[in-house]
């Protein structure tokens, strides 16, 4: 038994700030009357800003770990945490009008959102199986509750139920994989794991492959890779759009972090094995995601399938197994989150009291009534399709480059061919906005609050800005894996 050593608390300062502030929000919100709910939002955004400041304050030059090596703060963690905080701020502000219009403008939305974000931050820094699981469950449980948040909606309850059951199963699979690894190596620490696994690689190849399979399956469930994607379209469609916006953006970044911590930091000796699994998952995700999205008429559902195809691309970057590939996958994930916050953000604007805008046709003729918002959605769509000069092109380019570099040219060819299929349904959205006539009962004008207007515009233009100057972000991604 070693003596208790006071851990270095500083690296976890952002998480502690966030936890303390979230509890404060929770309590303060109780005493606020409904018309003062805006204060909760303000406080929540302040929480995120303070967390952001804390992240920047403690950002190490290299990397520090704490809590007996089970918590790490490195370049990867810093960049991803900043991205998560900024995107969550956007989500909170975009959601406000939607929540008011649908009579669900409650403090719990923000409290749950903050707890979910806390879970993500923990996932990003987690360096032991236990921490990863802790963060993941904190995130997932908050999300289940957020989906079911609009209790009057049957669809939402059904989605929450589906997500909960499947999510619990995925967690179970992940835990099972973790337990086998623990059985083989006797550790739950990622650093120790990586050294112990290489020692075991020759002795216990079958058991290791078995455990790895469960980890990969659990991970694929959470990321939504085919064939573990079934929950994703239903959850996207059934959730209130403000929650879909949240699910579709920041948690992807946390999911990416989890994949990196588990597979790259912990199990890099099994890279050959998981890369092969990822090839199958990636090709299947790009194929199924892109092809099925064509048949969708519901915008949220279409974006769900598009997410699946983008997960395929992210997996491509990871499976290359090079620093270059991880950096490109990271770039892809962050820019994807930024892009989808634009498309969902505009969709949220179109919602009004008693009317859920969620079909592609609800965007009909948007260029006639609101050319600026139509332009923002068009930029987001072209970015998702990977058409230059948007950032999506550069994200695809860097992933393809990583894949070609490890001599998987056929995989790159498959990826670009599937993205041509994908282009079709993105173009259809542009077509509906620009070429179709306005549907009569939707002429009502959108009057978003000034802050939403500015943030959404900056958000949308950043897709072109990052497309022209990708180095602004890419430099950080490369440094994270240097």
């Amino acid at each position: 038994m070693s003596d208790f050593i006071q851990p270095n608390l500083l690296p976890a300062l952002p998480e502690m700030v966030m936890l303390a502030m979230t509890c404060l929000v929770l309590v303060v919100d109780l005493f606020l009357p409904q018309e003062k709910r805006g204060f909760t939002l303000l406080l929540s955004v302040l929480t995120l800003l303070l967390t952001l400041a804390a992240v920047m304050f403690v950002a190490p030059v290299d990397s520090v770990s704490s809590f007996g090596d089970s918590f790490v703060l490195d370049q990867l963690a810093v960049t991803l945490k900043i991205a998560v905080c900024i995107i969550t701020i956007l989500v909170f502000i975009y959601s406000r009008d939607y929540l008011i219009d649908h009579d669900i403008y409650k403090g719990e939305y923000y409290v749950l959102g903050l707890f979910a974000t806390l879970g993500m931050l923990i996932m990003i820094s987690a360096h032991s199986f236990l921490m990863i699981y802790l963060g993941l469950e904190l995130l997932s449980l908050s999300l289940y509750a957020m989906i079911a948040f609009n209790r009057k909606s049957l669809m939402a309850s059904e989605s929450a139920m589906k997500y909960f059951v499947l999510g619990a199963m995925a967690s179970g699979l992940l835990l099972y994989g973790i337990s086998i690894f623990y059985g083989i190596t006797g550790t739950i620490n990622i650093n120790e794991l990586s050294t112990l696994v290489s020692a075991q690689a020759d002795k216990n190849p079958v058991a290791l492959a078995f455990a790895l399979t469960f980890i990969v399956v659990g991970l694929s469930f959470k990321l939504g890779a085919v064939p573990f994607h079934m929950w994703l379209p239903d959850v996207y469609q059934g959730s209130p759009t403000s929650v879909t916006l949240f699910i579709g953006t920041a948690p992807k970044i946390a999911g990416f972090a989890m994949a990196i911590r588990l597979l790259v930091d912990g199990l890099s000796d099994l890279q050959v094995d998981w890369s092969q699994m990822f090839i199958v998952l990636a090709v299947a995700s790009m194929a199924i995601g892109n092809i099925i999205a064509i048949a969708q008429t519901n915008f949220k559902r279409m974006l769900a399938y598009s997410t699946i195809s983008h997960v395929g691309f992210i997996l491509l970057g990871i499976l290359a197994g090079t620093a270059n590939g991880y950096a490109s996958a990271m770039f892809y994930t962050i820019t994807y989150a930024i892009t989808s916050s634009v498309s969902f953000g505009v969709l949220l604007l179109l919602n009004r009291r008693g009317f859920e805008a969620e079909n592609i046709n609800d965007l009909s003729g948007l260029n006639h009534t609101h050319p600026w918002y139509a332009a923002l959605v068009a930029i987001a769509m072209f970015s998702m399709a990977g058409v230059p000069p948007t950032v999506g092109f550069y994200a695809k380019l860097s992933v393809l480059q990583a894949v070609v570099q490890v001599d998987l040219v056929w995989l790159a060819v498959a990826a670009v061919l599937f993205s041509v299929i994908g282009l079709f349904y993105y173009l259809r959205v542009v077509k509906v906005m620009y070429f179709d006539e306005v549907v009569e009962d939707q002429v009502t004008s959108i009057k978003p609050a000034l802050d939403v207007k500015i943030l959404l515009s900056v958000n949308g233009l950043s897709l072109i800005g990052l497309g022209i100057f990708p180095s602004l972000l890419m430099a950080y991604c490369i440094r994270a894996f240097a």
């Binding site: 230059p388 040219v409 259809r428 070429f435």
Partner: protein, 505 residues
């Protein structure tokens, strides 16, 4: 004095920024948007003139170079420069854009600012494509120009515009993504450079070359378009508004031809030599078969679209017949004739097809029909217009004295050195081209007044006279005195021939 200026950047970004300004000028006061658009396009054209006057014709090296590191992570550079191949095409682009802006002046009333903005932004992208010396920069411009064209056809197009514009976008996109993979592959082979000239000297095995060649072929053949991937063009042309058709025919198609010269031939010379039969077959099919297809068209725009495919067949024929010429003729003269013929044909076709589409546009604005059957005896009511139309039709048929003759003649002459039968088949165009163009002119322009609608036609106004006469002058000057054009590309073409005659294997 201009050498110190970042002239190419100015030429690229002036129209793009101008286009954004036009967009913000909005539709409340459309004349404001129009005036800004005209001003921007003229300024851009004036800016391109020094590119010609200051151009050094003695060297094949690229000029007006701008080279800055852009995305250091992948060594992508903001690398611009022009040589004898790209410079004429840039001038063509800026000239045609001015014409397009004038031609749309009163015609486009619906969302006019967006219309003008789209054309200006596209102009910037197209000039960027011609002057990019970094392959990723090239690719970005190459792809980005699809977006404004997609919107132009989709918003201001005809009845079947949505089908046409989606087909256009998907066809061109599928072609270019394979090229992207090829570029990335070469980037890895060349130890991390995307510069086009590094690719030129990159040693590649024959298998690699063939695969890369095919990837480029898909991209550029769709763009040119070559038979059998030409089917998007008639659809796009028919549905596009007049300005869209003009830009499409006059410039966008040239990017395919330019791509062959800039990428396919120098990067994969052995594969090009190995597979030249494929391109020659495709080109001759375009010339002969598509010529016959054009003959039976009922729709004027469709007819001109098919005639564009046939004429572009000459371009690709000229580019790829050089390997056969080199086999029999050791001097570079014959090969140079073929390549320069293809280039002249590209520039000339830019003027002529643009003019033909504008002529159809002039009639369409009055009659709202493109069907040949709806016309007849237009010469009686629109004599001035008829003179222009007949002149351009003659040029399209390759009448000596017009620019249409020069390019075709050079390519046929060069083809004779390679093989009599190739030259014979290519020369059929002189008959076919005359047949389909003049027969259309006969039915539309000549004869008695066909119906009351034609009777009510009014002749062209000053604005229409202006843009048609500008094009007529260009066609005539280039036809009578092609030297200024041919001279600028001599050095570059000769260097290209030297380059491709050395095997990379």
């Amino acid at each position: 004095m201009y050498a110190d200026w970042p002239l190419l950047s100015l030429v690229i970004w002036t129209p793009i920024i101008g286009g954004i300004l036009v967009l913000f000028a909005g539709d409340k006061e459309p004349s404001g948007a129009r005036k800004i658009a005209l001003l921007v396009s003229i300024v851009t054209f004036l800016l391109t003139i020094p590119l010609y006057t200051q151009f050094n014709t003695d060297t094949h090296l690229i000029q007006f170079v701008e080279r800055e590191s852009w995305i250091p992570a992948f060594n992508i550079e903001y690398f611009l420069g022009i040589d004898g191949i790209s410079m004429p095409l840039i001038l063509l682009t800026s000239f045609i854009t001015v014409i397009v802006v004038i031609s749309a002046w009163e015609v486009i009333q619906y969302r006019a600012s967006q219309y003008f903005a789209a054309f200006l932004i596209m102009e910037g992208f197209m000039i960027g494509t011609f002057s990019a010396m970094d392959s990723i920069l090239f690719y970005i411009f190459f792809e980005a120009m699809l977006i404004p064209m997609f919107l132009i056809i989709g918003i201001w197009g005809g009845a079947n515009r949505i089908y046409a514009t989606l087909k256009f976008f998907l066809y061109t996109f599928i072609g270019s993504v394979l090229m992207l993979v090829a570029l990335i592959y070469m980037y890895n082979k060349s130890d991390g450079s995307f510069a086009i000239f590094d690719f030129h000297y990159l040693p590649l095995t024959l298998t690699e070359q063939v695969l890369i060649f095919l990837a480029f072929l898909v991209a550029f053949a769709v763009k040119v378009p070559m038979w059998p991937v030409h089917t998007w063009l008639p659809d796009a042309h028919v549905e596009a508004p007049t300005g869209g058709s003009v830009i499409l025919a006059a410039i966008m198609l040239k990017i395919g031809g330019y791509g062959f010269l800039r990428f396919s031939l120098p990067i994969t010379p052995d594969a090009s030599a190995e597979l030249d039969w494929l391109i020659i077959t495709m080109s001759l099919t375009a010339v002969v078969y598509i010529g016959f297809v054009a003959l039976v068209q009922q729709d004027m725009k469709k007819l001109i679209a098919y005639s564009s495919i046939a004429h572009m067949g000459f371009v690709t024929l000229g580019f790829f017949i050089v390997f056969r010429i080199m086999d029999v003729d050791s001097t570079a003269q014959g090969s140079a004739l073929a390549l320069e013929g293809g280039m002249v044909q590209m520039v000339s076709h830019g003027f002529i097809s643009g003019a033909m589409f504008l002529c159809v546009g002039v009639m369409y604005d009055r009659m709202h029909s493109r069907q040949i059957a709806d016309y007849g005896g237009v010469a009686n009511t629109m004599p001035v217009f008829a003179a222009f139309m007949v002149f351009f039709a003659m040029a399209n048929a390759g009448l000596p004295g017009t620019s249409g003759f020069v390019g075709e003649f050079m390519v046929i002459l060069a083809a004779f050195k390679a093989s009599f039968w190739i030259a014979f088949l290519a020369a059929l165009t002189l008959i076919l081209g005359a047949a389909y163009t003049l027969w259309m002119v006969k039915r539309v322009i000549f004869g008695g007044v066909a119906n009351d609608n034609v009777k009510a036609l009014t002749d062209i106004n000053k604005r229409e006279f202006l843009f048609l006469s500008l094009l007529a002058i260009a066609v005539l000057v280039l036809g009578l005195w092609p030297d200024p054009l041919v001279n600028v590309m001599h050095a570059t073409i000769n260097n290209l021939i030297n380059h491709i005659s050395i095997s990379k294997i």
